[in-house]
Symmetry: C2
Subunit: 226 residues, 2 copies
DNA sequence: ACAACGTATATTGTCAACAATACCTGAGTC
DNA sequence: GACTCAGGTATTGTTGACAATATACGTTGT
């Protein structure tokens, strides 16, 4: 996760990663008032590094802290998930545009290669779950970093994606439309390969828009109330 | 700054605010390897809360930490400032759109009132600096919160604006075009008042685009190399 | 019986001492 | 003279104990 692996891995970093994955995977349910001591014993940590990690997580909006009252995982509503996708739409649109302008040919080739891998997985009808979870993440991850926009990548990779993945784990949403999504991914990469930033932005926005509408539909059907 | 003033203000919060303003105002120069003890004596703090604040700041990208090597304020380049404005363009565009859909009539009235205040200040030719620094910030702040998009507002207010303000203090950029900016602000508010989200988004994007081009021009002229 | 208050407890916030590590200085060698 | 390597030092990371506060419970008064 960390870019160039700062040789020494501090306890606070460890705590941060543990907590983050625990929150994302749903091991720490939202709304729970969870004590620091519980967390310490759970992750074999002491309170110092733990508190530092809690501060970071709070700053990223994954949990909320009330002084002397405790920490709880942020409770999330379905409508907020939709809001997240609206943000993704504009930010990843920008990322796609800049990626088209700035990615190296090698990076584009790699991106196409990952898409082929994903296609193979879907055709074999196994690992659909993988494709939707990690594969999709991988695709968007590459474009975010390919934008060469440090802050943009940081916001997408460090904030938004974790929140989206949190929802995904919790509700196993984003189900369905694997072939559809792959096709959309292909078109986006095509536009990037042709260095057509405007088109790449348009396609990416439409892609995420479609994902959002898919989620909204599920909410309508009452499958997604949190 | 904190939304509903959590009665008790912890030392870590204090440290966080002190450091943030110090960074934004330029009292802590970027690139400086600044020691924890120095900071402690400077802000009358102890290392515990300080470290917690440092973690939060690092998480927000205002400073970088290398284990056992120290903390330094993130050094920023002119090109990265431009990248920031590209992000602002799409995010604030979205904010304007959602604000047009969701702001209360009262909020819109307040927004118009602040614009009148700003105009009076400019006409009196005093407080231009104020208008450009705090006034502009105030305008964008209101729209961000008016979007009713929690995460969007959090990202704009908690991350992007601090970075932009950091640059502003440091280079006293964003100079010029006060009347121009005010006119653009007025048109945006008009669109919001008419509940025309699409237009509000378009105008906001163009507004920030203009600001970005203004900065790029200065960079061309060599006035803004960092 | 219900409400309000005061106390008790458990949890969080804070502090100061200890341990580990990166950087710097100096000597030695090529 | 320049480079390498080793040790010292200062700074950071970590720990455990202490202080402050919010919640919960029991008591008391109406």
């Amino acid at each position: 996760m960390s870019e160039l692996a700062s040789q020494t891995y501090t306890r606070a970093d460890e705590a941060f990663d543990c907590l983050q994955t625990a929150i994302v995977k749903g091991d720490l349910a939202p709304g729970d008032k969870i004590g620091e001591l519980d967390l310490c014993s759970r992750f074999e940590l002491t309170r110092g590094p733990l508190r530092e990690a809690l501060g970071r997580l709070e700053s990223r909006g994954l949990l909320v802290r009330r002084p002397h009252a405790g920490v709880k995982v942020v409770s999330v509503s379905a409508s907020e998930l939709v809001e997240l996708y609206r943000i993704r739409e504009v930010m990843e649109g920008l990322a796609a545009r800049q990626a088209a302008e700035r990615m190296t040919d090698q990076e584009i080739a790699d991106l196409q290669a990952t898409l082929n891998t994903h296609e193979a997985m879907i055709d074999e009808a196994r690992g659909q779950a993988y494709y939707q979870a990690e594969g999709d993440y991988d695709f968007h991850h590459r474009i975010a970093t390919g934008s060469r926009n440090t802050k943009l990548a940081q916001m997408l990779l460090g904030d938004l994606y974790y929140m989206v993945r949190m929802y995904r784990y919790r509700l196993s949403t984003s189900a369905g439309r694997p072939h559809l999504a792959l096709g959309e991914h292909r078109r986006i990469v095509e536009a990037i390969a042709q260095r057509d930033g405007e088109l790449a932005e348009f396609l990416m926005k439409r892609h995420i828009n479609a994902a959002r509408k898919n989620i909204e539909k599920k909410i309508e059907e009452g499958l997604l109330t949190i």
